[in-house]
C-alpha cells in the first residue's frame, strides 16, 4: 500500500519570504500522480498544484512550485512571496495511475507572520 509522509506538523514563514513544505511517499509503482491541497480555516480542500510522475519537469503555478525527486520519492512544495492568505493546512496526496483513490499525508500547518 502507498503511504505519504509529511514530517513537518507546523511551519512558519514571514510575509513575502519563501517556505518549503516537505513530503515523501512510498510506492512500488511507476505511474502515479502527486498533488498538494490547501485547507484554510474554512476547511475546504483546494487544489494547489499537481505533478505527473512521468514528467521530469517540476510543476509550477504562479507562486507555487514543486521539487519532484522521483528516485528519492520526494515531492516538496515551495511557496514564494508568502502572503497572509497562504496560511492554511497543506496536504500532500498520492494517486495511483490506474486508480482513483487519493492517499493523503497528515498535513503541515503553515503560519504566515507579518
Amino acid at each position: 500500500a502507498q503511504t505519504v509522509t509529511q514530517s513537518q506538523p507546523e511551519m512558519s514563514v514571514q510575509e513575502a519570504e519563501t517556505v518549503t513544505l516537505s513530503c515523501t511517499y512510498d510506492t512500488s509503482e511507476s505511474d502515479y500522480y502527486l498533488f498538494w491541497y490547501k485547507q484554510p480555516p474554512s476547511r475546504q480542500m483546494i487544489l494547489v498544484i499537481r505533478q505527473e510522475a512521468y514528467k521530469q519537469q517540476n510543476a509550477t503555478e504562479n507562486r507555487f512550485s514543486v521539487n519532484f525527486q522521483k528516485a528519492a520519492k520526494s515531492f516538496s512544495l515551495k511557496i514564494s512571496d508568502s502572503q497572509l492568505g497562504d496560511a492554511a493546512m497543506y496536504f500532500c496526496a498520492y494517486l495511483t495511475g490506474g486508480g482513483n483513490k487519493l492517499t493523503f499525508g497528515t498535513g503541515t500547518q503553515l503560519k504566515v507572520e507579518l
Binding site: 474554512s42 475546504q44 480542500m45 483546494i46 494517486l95 490506474g98 482513483n100 487519493l102 492517499t103 493523503f104
Partner: protein, 114 residues
C-alpha cells in the same frame, strides 16, 4: 468555474439516527467520491462511485454506509444509525475518468453526532 457543492454545511444529529449528506458533483465528471476527515486527523478515502456502482471502498465504509445517485445530478452518502465516532467533516469529490485526473472537492459537510 465549476465546483462541487455539498449540503448541509453542518448537521447535528442524535446518536442512532440516520443522516443523508448530499452533493452535486461537477457536471461533466463521471467519478464521484466521499472522503472523511475526523477533527485533527488526515483525510481518509471512503468510497468511489462510477457508472452507477461502487468502484472501490475502504474498510471504513461498512454496512452502516451507503451511496446513491438518485438522479442525474445528485450524489448522496447515507449513514445509518450514527455513532459518536462518525463525527467528522465529510467531503464529496468528483473527477472525470481520465488517468490521473484531478479530484475536485466540495466544501465539506460537518457532521456532529451527540
Amino acid at each position: 468555474e465549476p465546483e462541487v457543492t455539498q449540503t448541509p454545511s453542518h448537521q447535528v444529529t442524535q446518536m442512532g439516527q440516520e443522516v443523508i449528506l448530499r452533493c452535486v458533483p461537477i457536471s461533466n465528471h463521471l467519478y464521484f467520491y466521499w472522503y472523511r476527515q475526523i477533527l485533527g486527523q488526515k483525510v481518509e478515502f471512503l468510497v468511489s462511485f462510477y457508472n452507477n456502482e461502487i468502484s472501490e471502498k475502504s474498510e471504513i465504509f461498512d454496512d452502516q454506509f451507503s451511496v446513491e445517485r438518485p438522479d442525474g445530478s445528485n450524489f448522496t452518502l447515507k449513514i445509518r444509525s450514527t455513532k459518536l465516532e462518525d463525527s467528522a467533516m465529510y467531503f464529496c469529490a468528483s473527477s472525470n475518468p481520465l488517468p490521473g485526473n484531478t479530484i475536485y472537492f466540495g466544501e465539506g459537510s460537518w457532521l456532529t453526532v451527540v
